[in-house]
């Protein structure tokens, strides 16, 4: 067992072991994926997660066509009064409306799309930032590696949610993009470390050495040979980040730091903004909360089982 002498090392070690897993040479990588797939197919945890995610993604794609109403239309606004701020279920509106008279079912369905967009863009943003830093560190090495990794270590040592709060509070005009950006930034150090570790492991692998010997320039080596081999750990981390992004978006909304424009619904925002109805109309909070919990659970189940399947240690 490796000796971990610094706090944070365990977090880092987890990331690093994940990086190694994907950082094998092409041939080994193929067998790794094959064996992982072999294990995953029979893993109920993975299957449950995959079914949830598949349903979620399909819903997100087709929602605008199958949603019964326009999620931004205040159809039942005339029924709203402060005595009864949330129009209840009625024909055509099986789940009733929200506090602006908009159809709850439609908002939940279309909300899947916005939720997916927030999750995916935040993850991609984190990945892109991480890739830049990771490539600089892992691709160039030496002093660049030292500097970048110092920065990454500092970022990793700050509690991520606190950092997201601070970042979100920084923007003059909160919007969907500031939420995405805040969540993306806190993921950067994790992806950077992941990619750097993966590249360091490949620097001396046969196919990279061969490419270098053939005179291939550094950039193509990184993009054509090193990055593709990091796909595994990135996917694992990506699924986990998606879950975190959806939950963090809700927390930001809850603290008033979320996207204030709610014409296009997003689950985290729906939950975060529903706090004034927790007492009298808890269903307004419970619907989006259940959606978030199920989807976050789906991503986590899938991510964890992928991690286990790809972890060289657990293959013993």
């Amino acid at each position: 067992m490796t000796s971990l002498t610094k706090p944070g090392d365990r977090k880092k070690a987890r990331i690093d072991s994940l990086a190694e897993a994907g950082a094998l040479s092409d041939e080994e990588g193929v067998s790794l994926w094959r064996s992982a797939w072999h294990r995953l197919r029979r893993d109920p945890v993975f299957l449950i997660g995959a079914v949830i995610i598949a349903a979620f993604v399909i819903l997100a794609v087709i929602a605008p066509w199958i949603a019964p109403h326009d999620p931004a239309a205040r159809l039942l606004i005339d029924q709203r009064t402060t005595q009864n701020p949330v129009p209840g279920p009625q024909p055509g509106f099986p789940l009733g409306a929200d506090d602006a008279g908009r159809d709850m079912l439609s908002r939940l369905m279309v909300g899947a799309r916005q939720t997916l967009i927030v999750g995916v863009l935040a993850t991609l943003g984190g990945f892109a930032g991480g890739m830049v830093l990771g490539t600089i560190a892992g691709g160039i090495g030496g002093w660049a590696d030292t500097i970048v990794m110092r920065i990454v270590d500092v970022m990793l040592s700050i509690p991520s949610l606190l950092m997201a709060f601070s970042l979100a509070a920084m923007f003059a005009r909160p919007s969907q993009w500031t939420v995405i950006l805040a969540i993306a930034i806190i993921q950067i150090p994790i992806f950077a470390r992941l990619l750097r570790g993966s590249m360091m492991a490949q620097r001396h692998s046969d196919h990279v050495l061969a490419a270098r010997a053939l005179g291939v320039r550094p950039a193509p080596i990184v993009f054509r040979h090193m990055l593709p081999n990091s796909v595994g750990p990135v996917i694992v981390q990506g699924t986990l980040v998606l879950a975190v992004a959806i939950i963090d978006a809700a927390a930001l909304s809850f603290l008033g730091l979320g996207n204030p424009d709610d014409t296009q619904p997003e689950w985290g925002q729906m939950l975060g903004r529903s706090q004034q109805y927790f007492n009298t109309h808890p269903e307004v909070a419970v619907y989006p909360a259940v959606c978030i919990i199920v989807v976050a659970l789906g991503f986590t189940l899938m991510g964890e089982s992928l991690r286990e399947a790809l972890d060289p240690k657990s293959r013993r």
């Binding site: 606004i77 402060t82 004034q276």
Partner: protein, 572 residues
């Protein structure tokens, strides 16, 4: 320049009306506060709990949920409701406010008279003692007037004595000229010009009368500016000493409670409870749940969406008469398109305010026809509401050549005000209405203290929501807050009528005769709402509420949120 309320013209006349009303309401010996409550015009079932209060004094404790910590215990340096709610129980003013209403009534002064509107004689209530045992007399009153005027730089700041700076002002232009104790119980106050506000301003919580001895001992005027914050003197933090029915006991910072005890030597009817505790609960939901759990006896400003459920659970939701206005301000400095009155009219006709009030605001809310509620003298009953007419709005825009109008609409996030419980829902309504009239709406939202106030006050927002809760029954308190000055939030300096508006506000305030003054304000309101002026769009008056549990009696809701807790009793 901190003085916003411009008052220029000095005049002379007898304030006959004021004097008559004051003489009639002279307080009887023995102070029958309970009787006053029952007689209050507005004290019907909706805004007062059962029982006439002030009955048998018990050793009970009343726990009231507060939304925030008081900033100080010296109301002179405060301008927020959380502070005033506490200090009103400890202190009294020369002029009080009728329970459940907005009219001025005698409190520590039994009557006030003036020949010329400049020299005022205040007859001081006899037999009143401060909490430190010293006597209230004319000299003590004058010591308070002198203390108000004698402020250092920090005290003169808008964040120090905000109200005094506005109402009286410091330096050469000050309204205050002097105070002299002509006999033991007559204080003669001289002001430098006639204004409709004086002496009614003295009913505001900031002008509480303190014990001169205690102020001396604990350095009440020692407010200081240290670094980037104000530091309050020992007096304001630990030794507030007034004449009220409750005495200051302690403030537990960490636990978030303010503890007051009954003043056993109170000159009037003693308080109904022995201990009054304000428990600070920062979260709205938590306040409600504490009331349901029975750990507090009431809290202020319950969310309107909770009113029905609170009533169903047996609580008493006391609805105050609305004393506020929510408006949609239009600023031509931020967007020159708004200089055209046709555009402003179109924006108004496009609004479905009836739907807005019935769906978004609590029961008792009204559509506003002008920039003040109907309880303010000067409100004009003849102004008709601009009717909701989408076609007319489109026509007007076409006439103005602005059929494809695009406008920025601002609303604040992270805030809830008594006149605007949920800003986003207000915005939803206006946006939907305007879009129905073919207007393109661009949304901008900022946190209240995170740019919204800054930008709207600095004329950077073309159309935005804001409101005002009145401090006292004074039309000037509303109109001047909105329109006084060349850099006001409505950007009226870009309109041709700007000068006329400024003059009219100043003239009305300087009018000594109350009837004439009221008439001037009525005319001014009609002008402001005329199609040619229309600097902004008043939307609604929304009644704030206060809620108390089933076992609380004697609470009288006040439109000025000036509730007197001494009449309240609790049955266990």
């Amino acid at each position: 320049m901190t003085i916003r309320k411009v008052a220029a013209i000095a005049g002379t006349a007898a304030l006959a009306l004021v004097l008559t009303s004051c003489a009639e309401s002279q307080r009887d010996d023995g102070g029958d506060t309970g009787g006053d409550n029952a007689a209050g015009d507005n004290a019907d079932d909706t805004n007062a709990t059962g029982g006439d209060g002030g009955s048998a004094a018990s050793d009970a404790t009343l726990v009231f949920g507060a939304a925030g910590a008081p900033t100080t215990f010296d109301p002179f340096y405060a301008s927020d409701g959380e502070t005033f709610r506490v200090t009103r129980q400890i202190f009294q003013n020369l002029i009080g406010i009728e329970p459940g209403g907005t009219e001025a009534v005698p409190e520590l002064a039994t009557e006030w008279t003036s020949e010329d509107g400049l020299v005022w004689d205040f007859a001081i209530q006899e037999g009143v003692k401060f909490h430190d045992g010293t006597d209230l007399n004319a000299e003590a009153v004058c010591a308070n007037f002198e203390r108000w005027a004698d402020q250092n730089e920090a005290g003169q700041s808008p964040s120090g004595a905000y109200y005094y700076g506005n109402d009286f002002g410091f330096g050469e232009d000050t309204l205050y000229k002097g105070c002299e104790a002509t006999d033991e119980f007559t204080a003669q106050v001289t002001v430098s010009r006639v204004t409709g506000k004086f002496p009614m301003v003295l009913s505001q919580s900031s002008y509480a009368i303190h014990s001169p001895a205690a102020m001396e001992e604990y350095d009440a005027n020692g407010i200081a500016l240290e670094g980037d914050a104000f530091v309050f003197p020992e007096y304001a933090q630990e030794h507030p000493t007034g004449t009220g029915p409750f005495k200051f006991e302690s403030y537990d910072n960490a636990g978030g409670t303010v503890n007051l005890v009954r003043n056993e030597d109170y000159w009037g009817e003693p308080a109904g409870v022995a201990n009054l505790v304000f428990k600070i609960i920062a979260d709205e939901n938590a306040r409600r749940q504490e009331l349901e759990a029975g750990t507090i006896h009431g809290y202020d400003l319950p969310n309107p969406v909770d009113w029905q459920a609170l009533k169903d659970a047996g609580n008493q939701v006391l609805i105050r008469d609305p004393f506020n206005v929510l408006y949609l301000a239009l600023n031509p400095v931020a967007d020159p398109q708004l200089e055209d009155p046709l555009v402003r009219q179109a924006l108004y006709h496009a609004l479905n305010r009836d739907q807005f009030v019935s769906t978004q605001l609590p029961e008792g809310a009204e559509v506003a026809t002008q920039f003040m509620p109907n309880t303010v003298s000067g409100w004009n009953g003849e102004i008709a509401a601009y009717e909701y007419d989408v076609e007319k709005a489109k026509d007007l825009l076409e006439q103005a050549g602005k059929s494809d109008l695009t406008i920025e609409l601002w609303y604040p996030s992270e805030v809830s005000r008594p006149y605007m419980p949920d800003p986003q829902r207000v915005y939803d309504q206006v946006k939907a209405d305007w879009e129905a009239a073919g207007i393109t709406v661009e949304t901008i939202t900022k946190p209240w203290a995170g740019g919204y106030i800054d930008d709207t006050q600095a004329s950077r927002a073309p159309a935005f929501f804001l409101g005002w809760t009145g401090d006292l029954n004074s039309a000037d308190n509303f109109l001047c807050a909105f329109f006084c000055g060349d850099d006001n939030q409505f950007g009226t300096s870009a309109y041709p009528f700007h000068g006329e508006l400024q003059d009219a506000i100043a003239a009305a305030d300087a009018e000594p005769d109350e009837a004439t003054r009221t008439q001037l304000y009525e005319e001014l309101n009609a002008k402001i709402m005329s199609p040619e002026w229309l600097p902004g769009l008043p939307l609604s008056h929304s009644p704030p509420a206060i809620v108390v549990g089933p076992n609380v009696q004697g609470m009288v809701a006040s439109p000025l949120t000036a509730e007197d807790f001494s009449t309240v009793t609790v049955t266990e």
